[in-house]
């Protein structure tokens, strides 16, 4: 043992961290509705995100019904189908995943895990949620607007996004969509400032960066990326709104529609693609990095073993965050770009596989000879690793220009990104909810219902997305309402499509079990106590569960060790909380 200079164990008063001046709520309204408490805001974010996510789930059912059983459901015409596709994608990526990981888990976990009383700017944090809610409501409003929501595809590519033959293109749909995104970004910026500055300035005494749980590392790196990437979407949305409402030609080339020359001219649709994917690719990692972080903590806690290669994990998160800002054009291989650019972006894309693979190896090595408890969070974490490896490997195919060109815009791409950024992060979200629900409510979620939910969701999503790879390899294009009588589509594809649709219906229905569990366990769950998983991180060491306003009672915690002291040889228990002082001079002498 080297470098153990300061095993001195006396508790020291928490002096260095500036205590946040908390606004203490006085009424029911300020306590539960217009609350400035990050924990309440987190729950508000999570409930709103899950609610709008259910809408997107139903939309995916409708799409699958059409694909699996064409000509059966007459109300799903081509126009509606495009609207369902667009809204499903947009809601899932931005309003569910981004909001839930950063707004939900970020708000709940950052202050608790770094030992702060609250976020550093509680008022802006509250505004962040309410602006997010407005964005969601504007989005929902587009379902009821004349002409319905936009059907431009979640990428909203111009010129088609604002032409009259695209659903919502000349009606309210696209306007509401763009406005909702702009509002979302404004709200997110307020929250994002909080997450970053809280990690920078709000950490408890002793909580150095290298003692932070990987969850915090993942969330804060993702937030930094989001703060830099979302402005690109903002710029794209503002400019497209100008094109649509005021008749400018930022993105619109000279174009004739229904035999009529439109007033646009000279604009560049490729410019939009650059702006969109400058945001769009980091967005994948904005969702993935928090998932990486959370999964590291779940695996370490439930395998009762310290995370393997903690430093490497931290560096990998930072490197992935940096690299993913310079790979955006791999979504544009077929846009006619300079082949040298294609080569550059293919290289950066494939390099990302290196830190990502390091993370996967480290998760597996953490499990190696660990004391694995197959609890619900652990099951979901294991399922994540498998799913992420699957989705990641197809990503290596698609990252190569020559392989991507024939596969572009086929169902293969759909299967790939659903595996890697749909199913995988959602599995982490479930695992995280099973893991932290006891802290949030004080009760455990029901185990039997959880098992049912896990196995249907896990196996079911493979039943959905594995066959879809094959469908894509055959050449079936994505975004087609009806395949018709295409000669290259064999009969087996139709049977597979029906199979996939049935699987999707079942998996979707299984989520009702989960929602029921969330509500039922609130009253009937087993009492959890303060630290049911016997975890080391600070959020499990709060004096009360659920943690009250201000989190820590009278005194802030002081941190003496890193977040992964599991199964330390010689320790009385198989975990040592981060705020437990070293056992005094004895260990000091023993160590030196």
């Amino acid at each position: 043992m080297v470098d153990v200079r300061s095993g001195i164990g006396e508790a020291v008063p928490p002096a260095e961290v500036e205590d946040v001046e908390l606004y203490h709520p006085h009424s029911w309204w300020t306590r539960y509705v217009f609350s400035q408490d990050a924990k309440v805001i987190a729950i508000q974010y999570a409930m709103t995100a899950i609610a709008i996510g259910m809408v997107a789930l139903v939309l995916s059912w409708l799409m699958r019904l059409q694909l699996g059983f064409p000509d059966t459901f007459t109300f799903i015409d081509a126009e509606r189908y495009y609207q369902f596709i667009t809204m499903h994608g947009m809601i899932m990526v931005i309003y569910l995943l981004t909001a839930l990981f950063l707004g939900g888990f970020g708000n709940y976990l950052i202050p608790l895990m770094v030992g702060a009383r609250d976020m550093v700017f509680p008022y802006a944090n509250m505004l962040s949620y309410w602006i997010y809610l407005v964005a969601v409501l504007v989005l929902v409003a587009s379902f009821f607007a004349p002409g319905g929501p936009t059907g431009a595809g979640w990428t909203l590519y111009p010129p088609q996004a604002i032409l009259s033959n695209t659903p919502g293109g000349k009606d309210w749909g696209i306007i509401l969509m763009l406005s909702s995104l702009i509002i979302f970004i404004i709200g997110f910026t307020m929250g994002g400032l909080n997450y970053v500055v809280t990690v920078l300035q709000g950490r408890a005494r002793g909580m150095t960066l290298m003692r932070m749980p990987l969850t915090v590392w993942g969330i804060v790196t993702a937030t930094v990326m989001a703060l830099l990437a979302f402005p690109a979407l903002f710029v794209a949305c503002v400019m497209m709104l100008f094109d649509r409402l005021l008749g400018t030609s930022f993105f619109m080339p000279a174009i004739a529609e229904m035999g009529e020359q439109l007033q646009y001219g000279g604009g560049s649709p490729i410019l939009f693609q650059h702006l969109f994917w400058f945001f769009g690719h980091p967005e994948v990692y904005i969702v993935a990095l928090p998932a990486f972080g959370i999964v590291s903590d779940l695996i370490s806690t439930h395998a009762r073993k310290n995370i393997f290669g903690y430093r490497m994990m931290v560096w990998a998160i930072v490197v992935i965050g940096g690299l993913s800002m310079v790979v955006w054009a791999h979504h544009m291989y077929v846009s006619g770009m300079n082949p040298y650019f294609g080569f550059f972006f293919a290289t950066t894309t494939l390099i990302i596989a290196v830190p990502t693979a390091i993370k996967v190896y480290n998760w597996v090595l953490t499990l190696w000879r660990g004391n694995i408890h197959l609890t619900l969070p652990m099951l979901f974490a294991l399922a994540f690793i498998v799913t992420f490896v699957n989705g990641g490997l197809t990503g290596l195919f698609l990252g190569n220009v020559v392989v991507d060109v024939p596969l572009s815009d086929t169902m293969f791409v759909v299967a790939h990104f659903h595996m890697v950024m749909g199913v995988a992060p959602i599995l982490v979200i479930f695992g995280a909810i099973y893991h932290w629900y006891p802290k949030i409510t004080g009760r455990m979620l029901n185990e039997a219902l959880g098992q049912l939910h896990f196995w249907i969701t896990f196996l079911g999503s493979y039943a959905i997305f594995f066959p879809m790879h094959y469908v894509g390899l055959v050449g079936v294009p994505r975004r087609y309402h009806d395949l018709g009588e295409a000669a290259f589509v064999p009969e087996s594809v139709h049977s597979l499509n029906a199979f996939i649709s049935v699987a999707a219906l079942i998996v979707g229905a299984a989520q009702i079990v989960f929602l029921f569990n969330l509500v039922w366990s609130l009253r009937h769950g087993r009492e959890a106590g303060g630290n049911p998983w016997r975890a080391t991180t600070l959020e499990w060491q709060t004096p009360e569960t659920p943690p009250p306003h201000g989190n820590w009672g009278k005194e802030l915690p002081v941190v003496y060790r890193w977040a992964y002291d599991y199964s330390v040889p010689g320790a009385p228990e198989d975990f040592i909380p981060q705020n437990q002082p070293a056992p005094g001079r004895v260990s000091h002498e023993a160590a030196s």
Binding site: S6, L193, A232, H274, V559, A582
Partner: protein
Amino acid sequence: MTVVLVFLAVIAVIIAWWLAQQRLASKPWLEVGHLHDHRSVEPVPAAKIGLAVFLAVVGALFTLFISAYFMRMASSDWSPLPLPRFLWINTGILALSSVTLHWAKLEAERQNDEAARTSLLVAFAAGLAFLVGQLFAWRALSSAGYLLTSSPANSFFYMLTAMHGLHIVGGLAALGRVTLRTWDAPIDHRSRLAIGLCATYWHFMLAVWLVLFALFSGWANDVVDLCRQLLT
């Protein structure tokens, strides 16, 4: 998109520089005890860091707009618009506003409350005058026939000045709040911090305006051309 890549590189260097001081190569599993926390006793106020992060976001926003400007400029229908001479005066007013705000900050630190209040008010008025001046510039251009949709350069001019103006409006709201707070109360530690933050924001918005102004007047193109020649 080169402009935004340069911006990202700058941000990356700042982040790397900061991370380099955080002992990322330490072995946390060997270090037990609280003495490994080397943060200074007097932490930087969170609001200051918050503003810095926010300015990075605003910087990203305008850099992306400028990237879009250069990409759109490459198409054949581009024709630059003549800038009204008015904009020179506006630039002067904004610079004046920025300078007086800085002066207010210095006076507040010297505890000359009266002088600080006066210069806050002058800065606020100058900020307002800048906005009015921008509206006049818009009117001068549109009455001369340079409408929003008549050329992409016009569209960018109106959009970017509007975007910048909105940020100035937000700054004025914050500045107004600080001015009101300091009006009938002695300037305490919190107000001094707030005045300092307003000054930083104002300098930043002045810098953004100078870049935009250089862009519209075409000097930025010369600089970019020069860089391109140097690189190739």
